[in-house]
Structure formats: C-alpha cells, structure tokens
Amino acid sequence: MLKILYFGKLGELTQLREERVDVPNDINTIEALKSWLNTRHDLDCALSHPSIKTMIDQKLVHTNESIEGAQEIGFLPPVGGG
C-alpha cells in the first residue's frame, strides 16, 4: 500500500486529502503513477502539470524517479504562506 497525499487545489480535485492505494506492478515511476492517478480520479492531467512538484517519502524529486520501495508520495501545487 502506497500513501498518496494531495495538497491544496489537488485535494479539492480528488475530493480527498490522502489515500492508500495498491499500485499495479507496471506502475513504477512518478510519471506512470501520475497518469494512473489522473485517470483514477478523472483529473484531466492535473497531476502532470509542470507546476506540480512531487515528494517521495518527504523528499523533493526533480526527475521521473522510480517509486519502488516508496512509502509516501506527496503531490504539491505551487506553495506559499504568510
């Protein structure tokens, strides 16, 4: 089971802030996971937008990395507080 976190507007689009999913065996990179989740939640490519950053186990990843062994994937729209 992989924990997926949807932040900000992504949480509104998926209508959930987090979920635990059984990822099919052939989904083993970030990009593949995004496509799969886009379809699963009818997100119209929202996760694939270049502004969305990804964290694997709370570390930012900049390329299409493997998700093998990952516990938690976070999808982050543009941030900003204050």
Binding site: L5, F7, G8, K9, G11, E12, R17, M55, Q58, G74, L76, P77, P78, V79, G80, G81, G82
Partner: protein, 146 residues
C-alpha cells in the same frame, strides 16, 4: 522557535515573551501578517501544511538566516486551518544587536514564507474560493537574497 499550529495566537504576548527570552539583543524586528477585515466581502482563509516537511523547511530557512546575519534569536509562528477576518496568519520576529541585521533577516524570512514555505492558502469570500499562489512581486522580492 518555530510553531506551525491551527490555534490562534496573541501576537503582542508572543513578542513580549520572545523579547524576554533574548535579553541581550538591543534590536527586535517583527512582521505580522493577518487576514484583512475588509468591509463588505468578508474573507476567510484556509491554510494547509505538509506536517514535518513544512517545519523542516522553515528550520532550514532560519539556519540560512543565522548564517547570514548576527542574530541572537528567531521566532516564527504560522497558522494553518481556517482563519477569519482580523486573525493573525504569521508572526516573524528577529533579535540582534544590530538594527539592520534584525530588519533584513525578518524581511528575508517573510520572503521565504511567502514563496518557498510548504503552505497552501485558499481565500474564501462570499462569491467563492480560490487557491492563492505567490504574486510575481513575491518571487522578485525573494530573489533579492540569492
């Protein structure tokens, strides 16, 4: 001290406690951001963070501030959850022996919080809600320090 919390805080009281704890600093700069209490279209905010990731990021930013300016202490309080008009969103206070160091570090940390800190902010008005992203000016401000 870094506090990310969904509990409202008393800015004046926190600032007094901060000053009490950093007796040797002659200069204390601070910034408070809050939800504007606008006339007609009352606005509330909803803020999300990413648990420890958010706090770790802020912690790293304070380390950069300590490395760059002679500071004796830093206080950052940032609200999450639902905030109503008039409530404080953020308090940043910096203590130093030097006025310029206190001002610049406070300014730097606010720029970090506005553009890089791991928060998501939704503005809710009577006419609907929108997720707010940093303005171009915020990104420009933040580049002053790199």
């Amino acid at each position: 001290m870094i506090i990310v919390s969904n509990t409202p805080f008393d800015a004046g009281e926190r600032l007094n406690a901060f000053m009490e704890a950093s007796q040797n600093a002659g200069a204390i700069a601070s910034f408070i951001g809050r939800v504007r209490g606008e006339g007609g279209d009352t606005k509330s905010l909803y803020l999300e963070s990413y648990a420890d990731v958010t706090e770790q990021g802020i912690e790293d930013a304070t380390k950069r501030a300590y490395a760059r300016w002679p500071l004796t202490d830093i206080l950052i309080i940032h609200r999450i959850g639902t905030l109503h008009a008039g409530e404080e969103i953020v308090l940043v206070a910096t203590a130093s022996e030097h006025r310029r160091a206190a001002f610049e570090a406070c300014d730097f940390l606010m720029d970090y919080l506005k553009t890089e800190a791991i928060f998501w902010k939704k503005e809710i008005t009577k006419s609907g809600s929108t997720w707010v992203e940093p303005r171009t000016q915020d990104y420009t401000d933040n580049k002053r320090w790199s």
